[in-house]
Each structure stands twice: as C-alpha cells, then as structure tokens.
Amino acid sequence: MSIKLGSSELAKYPFLQEASTYIQETKFDFEEFDRPEMIHIINRAVEKLESELKGKIYSNLDEYEIEIMTFLVSLLLIKSIGVEEISRKCSLFEAMRVEKFLSTDLSNERSLQKKKLLVQKIFQELFKIDIDVDSTTIICKLSIADYLHRASKMNEQEWKLINRSVKDGYVYLDTDEAVRLIRNELSNLIYTRIKNMKVSEVPILIKSKADELKRKYSGRYVYRNQFKILEYPPCIKHAMEIINKGENLPHSARFMLATYLLAIGKTEEDVIEIFKNSPDYNEKITRYQVEHLAGKKGSHIKYSVPSCDKLRSEDLCFAIKECENLINPIQFGRRKFK
C-alpha cells in the first residue's frame, strides 16, 4: 500500500523535497516573478515576513502552489535583505509556524499510517532521526542519543532526561514535544537554505520590496547581531539549574544571573520569567530589582556582569576548560559572525 501526502498537507511543509520537485516540474523561472500576477504572492510573502519580524507566527494558510511560491519569495526576500539577525529571526518563526501545523496534523490525523508517514518525512528524511509512533498510545519514541543531541541544548529543566519517560534506551514524547524538539533544527534548515541560495539576479519587484523591508527593520538589529551566545558559561548554567529546581539562590548569584541575561539581550520580562521559579518569588520586588539592574530604576546605572575573579571569590565559578583566559562570563562561547 502506498500512502502519499496530499497537497493540502504539503502546503504546510514547503521545504520538503516534494516542493523543489514541483518547482522543477513546472519549469518555473525566477523571471516570472516580474509578471504582474505575481504581485499577490510577493505581497503575501512581505506580509508574512513583517509578521515574523514583529514576533508573530503567520498562520494564514493557502493552497499548495501559493504556499510554495510564497515560501520561495520569502527566502529570496530574506536573502536580499542580507541582515544576519533578520535571517535568523524569520527562520525561527518559519520553524514555529511549521511546528504549529505539524502538531495539529499529528494530533488530528486519524490514520496511523498517515501519521507515521508524516513523522517519517519530517524527522527521518530531513533530520535522520529514527522516530516511531507507538500504535496503541500514539506516543513518539526515539533513541536516547537522538533525544540528547537535541534536548541537551534546551535550558528548561523539563527537557532533562530525568524528567522524561525513558525505557530500554528510548525516550517517549507526545507529539507536541516531539515537534518542539526539532524546532531548532528546522529553523537551522531554513536558515541554511537561505545562506546557500545562489541567486545571480533577484527579480526587480522582489529587490525593491527587500530594500523597503531592510530600511524599515534592520535598524533594530544593528547592535545585537555581532555576537551569538552559543552556550551559557558554567557559572550561569549552574545558577539556572538551581532556579529550575526551585531552590533558593544566594543574592550574589541572582545578581550575576540577572546582569548576565540582560547583557546578552534578554528582555526584562524574560529575566523575570526565569526568576518565577524561586521559592520566595515576589513579582513586584523581582520586577523592581531587574529594572534597577537594567538601569531603569533608582540610580539609572546599568549594572555590568561581575568578573570571573569576583565570581570565583564568591564561590560561584565552576570553570571548565572552555573558560580558559576569560575575564568575564560574558565572553564565554562568543563567536564572531563572519
């Protein structure tokens, strides 16, 4: 028996192999984007990107052909904007859009066969993850190694192996969790597509839209886009773990954690959210303190992250090899984007 994904499903996953085949088969040419009837598609792509840049998932869904074209135009737009942070952000929101569709599809799909097919397409074809859907419980199972390669990059305590269903070398996830697990990879996949796209000439219409978007949005990213923190330093990780366990952090450690998170560009809201787990959490006080550290209250001085020396003297340092030569935790894991 052969089961295929229908075009209504494929519309949601325009990055699958099928989509490129479609483009090839219809002998589609970039120049066609300069034809007036394409304006609808281009506007739709612009609308989608603007929504993503404002931090909203674009959930509007159209027919297969239109989705594929929109996806293609979006990539072209992002490519010609050429701002790292915009590429990252749009890739992430594109991934979250897929995540949303996939979660719904997987939980609504009645046919086990079809569900397996969908899971297989996305997880196995794209990411080489061996994942299976258990026939009775409709729970996904994947090997511990496959799980850890992804989950160990997530900071939330609930993704730690100890908080998972584990048996005989497998981790069991419900469909939402399984889909969440690949968000980063999905986002990277889209990001790489953009990076690797070789476009000799961008159609004029798209180029002018891209310039417009760039003027409008790139200003927000000038400062933030130089560095990307690939991983938290051990001192910060340690403090996060304590918080996540719901245990009390000493004042010095809170100071370190909050200043660090603010320094790497987390918003005050993000920071407050993280402190919510403290046993003595008080929203009002925490908010005041965080705003104070951010330089909005009281002295109006923005506090900087304590140095490694200072943290060492406060017993907050858990240096590892990668910490060699660091003066401040903020330097940890920083790679300059070329």
Binding site: L148, L161, I162, R164, S165, L173, K245
Partner: protein, 382 residues
C-alpha cells in the same frame, strides 16, 4: 602512592616490582583502538606526563618497562591525532565512563580503617588533625577498605548496571566493569551509538543516574495559585524515574486522587518536593558526575597497577563473585622485610595478615600495598 616519607629504597623496590609486572604482563586485552588514544602516566615523583600516543601494545609496554610509571592512564576519547595539544587532537568520540568509589558511600565502618598520614613527615596519626610528630604537617586520610565496604560498593555497582541496561537500554556486551585497583569500580561503555554524545548530553545522563533535578511536575504535581494542582503528564508516569517514584508512592496513571492526598499530607507542594528528593536520593547511584561528563579525560588503564595500592585495575565479569583483594592482587609472593608505621590487619590474596611489630617479613604484594598506602617502608637490610 603516598610518596611523602618514602625513602629511595622503598621507591626502588616498588619500581622493580612494577617493572617485573609489566615485563610479564605484556598484553592489555581490554585496550582497543590504541592508535586513537591519548596516553599519560604519573611518575614516582608525582609528575604527570600527558599527550603520548602509541601505535600498538608493544610500543606501550616498551615505554612502561623503560620508564616504570606509578600510574598509567589512557583517554576515553578516540582522537585522529592523539598526541597533539587538546584543541588539535581531532576528537572522534569517547567511551562513556562511570566511576563509583567507596568513599562516596558514607559507610559507617570507613572511619574504623582510616589512617591519617602526615603530609610532611609521613607519620601515621590516629586522628585527623595537625601531625603530632612534627607539629606542622596536615594529615591525609588513607583507607584500607574492608569486606563490608566492598559489599556496599558492589551493591552500588549492581544498581548502576541496572540503570545502564534497563533505563538506558545499553546492551551488556558494550559494558565493561573494572575494579579500579583501590576502592571503586569503573564502568566503561563503548556503545558506538553514544560515543559521540557531547559533555552536556553526558551530564543529562549522569543527572539521570544520580537522580538530580526531578521535577514534581513530571509526576503531575504543579504549583498553583492556591498551593498545588494535579495534572498527570500525557506521556504517562509508568516509565523511567516517573515510574520509580510512582511505585514508591504507590500510585499509577489513575491515582489522581490518591496523589492529591499524598501531596496534602506531605504539606503541600514544598513538602512534596522534599519527599521526592528523599526518594531520588534513595534510588539514585553515587557516581562521580564530572568524571563522566568530561570527554577529554584520561583514565586508569585496565590491566595497569594502581599506584595507590599496588593492585591491578581488573576486569570484573561477575560482580557477585568478584573478590577485589584476591582477584586484583597479582604481584609476586617473594618475601621481604618492611618497617611498619602502625599495627594493622589486612587481607590480601585470601590470606589474613596481622601485623603488630614494627619489623615484619611479608610477601611482596603486601609490602607493595602498604608502601603505596604510606603505611610502611622497605627495610634497608633486605
């Protein structure tokens, strides 16, 4: 070895015995992919040499016989270029190694067979204070594990084995258990599927085995505005740590009410969390986490002599029947005279030794053991 206060005669004696051992035991059957490993050793003066590499066992043995180190180590990692500096070695994966040690188990008898050796003059004190002989040195504790200690550590090892096989699903053929030669066990896991786990992933595994970081939410107890609420996870509570905890609490997927009651009687969310912490402590294994998480570490080489005891790091095929003080004691029987710093009793190679005099004639393996521990020196008139 506690080399403080060990005269050169003692060191010369040890070196001869060690050299002979390596000469007669040229094979390291549990060492594979030699050419991809980094080697290192500790010399008798405590200096550690690292970043060595050997093409085959022959080259390694030649080096051991030539230099006679106190301890020999090799990397759990496989490298493309093992002798390069750490960042240029081309890491290709690493065995997953677990370390459990008697001293971490808090066994009550441990104090009874601990000795406190001065770090300056080598004097054996009866207490853990400033040395009463020189009035300056601090005391280091040295222990001679007893039968009870070994029973306890073997039990811990069995627990670890169960975690590895049942929870992590590792096939027993990929697990090698070694007695470390002193007071613990090393588990070497060489499953190719987990060789490439990074340090973060490994720390997820160690936390799992130790029982670190279990959240009440994972078993369905959440904090809420009016204290707590029950919402069992969709994935169920009948596997992994969820199951260990559920069965300890006597609940299953349908016991929402019972769980609610349990949380109430333990004093709400906070009280329940303390309960959970007690359970995870009880079921977790006392492994040394950072050791496992390190993917560039060097470990004692199986089949080599442990310089802290003179016993061999020995493969253990059956935990139950394994007898560390016999099965790992492989040095010569020829008798020598030693000067003892304290009277003591030990059991080695299934023989009981009761040593009350300051001068005693004992088999070499006993002499080596006690000199390594810092409790005796070789007698010059041998």
């Amino acid at each position: 070895m506690n080399q403080i206060g060990n005269p050169t005669e003692s060191i010369d004696f040890l070196r001869e015995v060690f050299r002979k051992y390596y000469f007669e035991n040229k094979y390291f059957p549990y060492l594979y992919s030699i050419e991809k490993r980094e080697f290192g050793y500790r010399k008798f003066d405590s200096l550690v040499v690292r970043h060595l590499s050997f093409k085959n066992a022959g080259e390694l043995v030649a080096e051991l016989i030539r230099n006679v180190p106190l301890d020999v180590y090799y990397s759990n990692a496989y490298y493309g270029l093992p002798s390069n500096p750490i960042n240029e070695k081309q890491w290709e994966g690493a065995d997953l190694i677990f370390d459990i040690d008697i001293k971490d188990l808090n066994i009550p008898c441990f104090q009874d067979h601990s000795y406190y050796i001065c770090n300056l003059c080598g004097f054996v004190n009866s207490d853990q204070k400033v040395c009463i002989n020189c009035n300056k040195g601090k005391t280091l504790d040295i222990s001679i594990p007893c039968k009870k200690c070994f029973i306890a550590i073997k039990k811990e090892a069995a627990k670890l084995l169960d975690f590895l096989c049942s929870d992590l699903g590792i096939k027993e053929t990929f697990i090698e258990i070694f007695f470390s030669g002193n007071a613990g066990f090393h588990f070497h896991v060489n499953d190719p599927n987990i060789r490439n786990l990074d340090s973060n992933s490994r720390s997820n595994v160690t936390d799992y085995i130790i029982g670190n970081g279990f959240m009440c939410e994972s078993i369905g107890v959440r904090k809420s505005r009016n204290g707590f609420m029950i919402k069992l996870p969709k994935g169920g509570i009948m596997t992994g740590w969820r199951k260990k905890i559920a069965s300890n609490l006597g609940i299953n997927q349908k016991s929402e009410l019972k769980l609610k009651h349990i949380v109430e009687t333990s004093g709400g969310y906070e009280g329940f969390r303390n309960e959970i912490n007690k359970i995870t402590k009880k079921f977790g294994v006392h492994i040394d986490g950072p050791v496992t998480n390190d993917i560039h570490r060097i470990f004692r080489l199986p089949g080599s002599i442990n310089g802290k005891s003179g016993l061999i790091k020995t493969k253990c095929d059956d935990l139950e029947s394994f007898n560390p003080t016999n099965d790992a004691c492989m040095l010569s029987d020829s008798e020598v005279c030693i000067n003892l710093k304290t009277s003591l009793k030990i059991n080695l190679k299934n023989n009981n030794f009761r040593l009350d005099n300051t001068l005693e004639k004992v088999p070499s393996y006993v002499a080596v053991y006690l000199i390594c521990k810092g409790l005796a020196t070789i007698n010059k008139n041998n």
